[in-house]
Symmetry: C2
Subunit: 530 residues, 2 copies
């Protein structure tokens, strides 16, 4: 418990200085806690060292301007993630709203156990929770419908409107305060119908460098071994932290109409983790629930983090005893009201109307996020990437058949396309009889890589065994340079279709001569031809 609190304040201060989204709150999250627990072996020393190293890696990524990688998180992925997060985080609070105990964390099990054990609902928690929900929704609606104040109104009208506005804006704090007072008054009278937050250990964390080695009475674990043990965690934790932060920042930036700078976000997270590791923090990331509460409360700039951070520090030092009386049901109501507007059902209809293909990454992200948030985001990004890469892997190849077979790829040739190109050539050139010369028109091929060169080389060899010529026309200068550097053997390049005809005759003659020479370099062998 205390490590969660130690991780909560550094992000507020540093994000205030370096962050680019007004709503985002850095801190410990459920996803990151689970990730860290699987790489840190439930040992604080590993977790704090992981924080330090993740911070360093994020700083390096920020300095290298690797933030552009986040352009690859598309809008449907973000919408899918936020809608699923709103559902899971909201539902996660239902158990607190109803006062249910010992419900598992995983979403599907949670839904099952919450409904199957709904009979165990604590009446006090449920009533308080519902009242808080109604009050919060009412105040929210009121705030949305406050009529515009004009200067000519009477002072009394303006003051009453100011009071309504202030109440509606501070509704989250007021509801929690009110619920705490109710719980306290019940406690004084000797009965307690609510589930309370309970005791939180008091005291600030020590300020010390992260543990670069671990000394126990029995043995010393050195830095190298600790790093070795954490393994993939050193890649997964910084990347997932970044992904989560930026997914959240992008979602709120698009909702509240501002822009974020991923490189700057990386620096903010990097410094937070770096300095956090000196106060025993574990790796932090953008927190969806807290960011939503922040946005709904009406935060205007990252400087809000100063107050949040100061409050966490104050709480750790002095106030934990006061938090004892806050009913969990009231906190649950605040969180549910904050995340509810993030659920966006219209996006499904909009995408159906505008661009149906984008429903695929949306649905993949949305559904998989219920399993695990990080799988949902990663799968969504992968599906989007596949949709981007598909045209590269399967370029349009225009085939014209005359005396020769003319193939014209409509765009560049990159490595995922080479198998497809070779298959097309095989199909076109070998399936028909008589065998005809194949001409590859490279007009639109502006780039070529080594895999393509190797594929073309194999293709040339296979066709030559069948005594079919493959002639390249209109090869661009820098593509030709690559093809020549690779030394493709009898590579034949001409600049126009007419020259191709002549060249093809020559090629055939040379091949015939070579055949009668008995040279085995071009003899067909069954192993080569598929």
């Amino acid at each position: 418990l205390q490590y969660g609190l130690y991780s909560s304040f550094m992000g507020c201060f540093i994000y205030c200085l370096l962050g680019t989204a007004k709503d985002v709150t850095l801190g410990p999250t459920a996803i990151m806690s689970l990730l860290v627990s699987s790489y840190a072996f439930h040992d604080p020393a590993y977790a704090v060292l992981l924080t330090f190293l993740s911070g360093c890696i994020q700083l390096i990524m920020g300095l290298l301007h690797l933030g552009f990688l986040l352009d690859f998180i598309s809008y449907p992925v973000i919408r899918g993630f936020t809608s699923a997060a709103a559902v899971t985080i909201g539902f996660n609070q239902v158990k607190a709203l109803l006062g249910l105990q010992n419900i598992p964390r995983q979403f599907f099990l949670q839904v099952y156990y919450t409904f199957s054990r709904i009979g165990e609902t604590r009446v006090g928690d449920a009533i308080l929770g519902l009242i808080c929900l109604i009050v919060l929704t009412g105040l929210q609606q009121m705030k949305n419908h406050i009529p515009r104040v004009f200067r000519m109104e009477k002072l009394s009208v303006r003051i009453s409107q100011l009071i309504v506005w202030a109440t509606a804006t501070a509704r989250n704090a007021l509801v929690v305060l009110f619920a705490g007072l109710v719980a306290y008054s019940f406690q004084v009278r000797g009965s307690q119908p609510f589930t309370l937050t309970g005791t939180i250990p008091q005291g600030l964390p020590p300020f010390q460098p992260p543990p670069f080695s671990k000394v126990t009475p029995n043995e010393t674990v050195y830095f190298g071994e600790m790093v070795q043990a954490m393994g993939a965690g050193l890649a997964v934790v910084p990347l997932m932290g970044l992904l989560e932060t930026v997914a959240i920042a992008k979602a709120f930036a698009s909702q509240n109409n501002y822009q974020i700078d991923p490189d700057q976000e990386l620096l903010a997270m990097g410094f937070t983790n770096l300095f956090g590791s000196f106060v025993s923090s574990y790796p932090v990331t953008g927190s969806f629930g807290r960011t939503a509460v922040n946005a709904q409360t009406g935060v205007r700039s990252p400087a809000g983090g100063l107050i949040t951070g100061a409050l966490v520090l104050l709480s750790l030092a002095f106030l934990t005893s006061l938090f004892y009386y806050i009913p969990k049901a009231a906190l649950a109501a605040v969180i549910i009201c904050a995340v509810a507007p993030m659920f966006d059902a219209r996006i499904f209809r909009t995408l159906w109307q505008v661009k149906r293909l984008d429903l695929v990454p949306l649905c993949v992200t949305f559904l998989l996020c219920f399993w695990e948030m990080q799988y949902g985001i990663v799968a969504g990004v992968l599906v989007s990437a596949i949709l981007l890469l598909y045209p590269i892997a399967r370029p349009q190849i225009k085939v014209s058949e005359h005396e020769t077979i003319l193939l014209q790829p409509s765009s560049g040739l990159c490595f995922p396309a080479i198998e497809f190109l070779c298959d097309t050539v095989h199909k076109q050139a070998l399936s028909v009889s008589p065998l005809r010369t194949v001409i590859l028109d490279c007009t639109h091929v502006s780039n070529i890589d080594y895999t393509v060169v190797m594929g073309l080389s194999e293709l040339l060899q296979q066709l030559r065994c069948r005594r079919i010529s493959l002639i390249f026309i209109n090869v661009q200068a820098h593509v030709l340079q690559v093809l020549l550097a690779a030394d493709l053997g009898r590579f034949c390049n001409v600049s126009s279709l007419e020259d191709a005809g002549k060249s093809c005759e020559e090629e055939a003659r040379t091949a015939n001569e070579a055949l009668f020479d008995g040279s085995d370099s071009i003899l067909p062998t069954s192993g080569i031809i598929q």
Copy 2:
């Protein structure tokens, strides 16, 4: 130990029927064993169920023809992987060649401990290992230089050449047999200078369905909970299995000049795992070492698997006692000779000459494979994908400035490019004064997605706040359809540059009128403009 053997034969039989690469051998591998151990909690029940489910997933992938995903493994990635695998697997055998005990598995630690403890070398093992290495290399060379036999040669010459050829071809089996006999003769005399393979438990595995639930005296773990517990393993194990098999198959296919069909490979692996789970197998994949031994031994078709599989079954049933005498050093020599030719140092020079950019995925894969094979392949694929995606994310945008600013993206607009496009427009349109109309020439934009539509919508809104017009020209029909479906508000599309001029004047007039109307939909607010 016995589960490793139980996993070794099913792949041989099924791959013989369904495989498309002559050399590949399916079976338990070091990488897969480690992966399985981390998802199966060292419990055979989980491992066998994971085999069954991985098989099902691979079959489904094969039936859905998802094998095309493997086109994204480029040649440099495969070369990097095979070269690193040759080094690590080869070096992994050095400890057996020298008779060193208790060397850790991880490559870097292995190198360190092998050299620091080289003084503990067992003389017998080292001498036997070196002799085997020399004999194997000699026979290999001999096989490569056997002169061609012509029909007119004398019978004695032809017979002697046949003997040399047979010896050279069967060299691996002969060396192991010879070393086993030497070890046996030492054992009979009462001394043993070699480290032997030792006792292997005898007997065939039971034929039974995989455990769909786990019953222990204390509790019953149901199917759902087992699946839940394995979590990401259900995605990682089938994918890594596929990746490893196809990486190996592609490497040997390119070396031995044949082609593979990834979908068929998926079916082969799927059926192997599916049926394997009935004989207590754990998930299998292509084995680099065994495949290399297969290829070097001169296997001609996947039917070789029938013999391998039958030998494993025979061994399990009867022969394990005979294998007791095989010296580990002789096996190590066979494996080292098999993997050595897979190390390809020339590829670095070739890529430097032909296509330097391809050195990046090569080096990333090569270096990270020394850490963990699967990280190397995944990182290499990711780096290749980034190199493919970079031109999509940063398309060339031609900017011409006259009375208006004309922006011409040279290729399609996909979601990773939208931030870049917006930044370009902001830079071009807002940094200069007086503010001028922006014209976006969509001639080359053949496709558009919802993220781009949202980005353009925000851009339109931001520019309108600054009273700058954004006019689209030459929008292709289906792109226009998407833009209109998204209902962009005042979206202005004209078909030529001349019309754009007129339209721009109109737009400005309407905007001015709207401004004086006092309508706040287009009033600039500081929150909207960046």
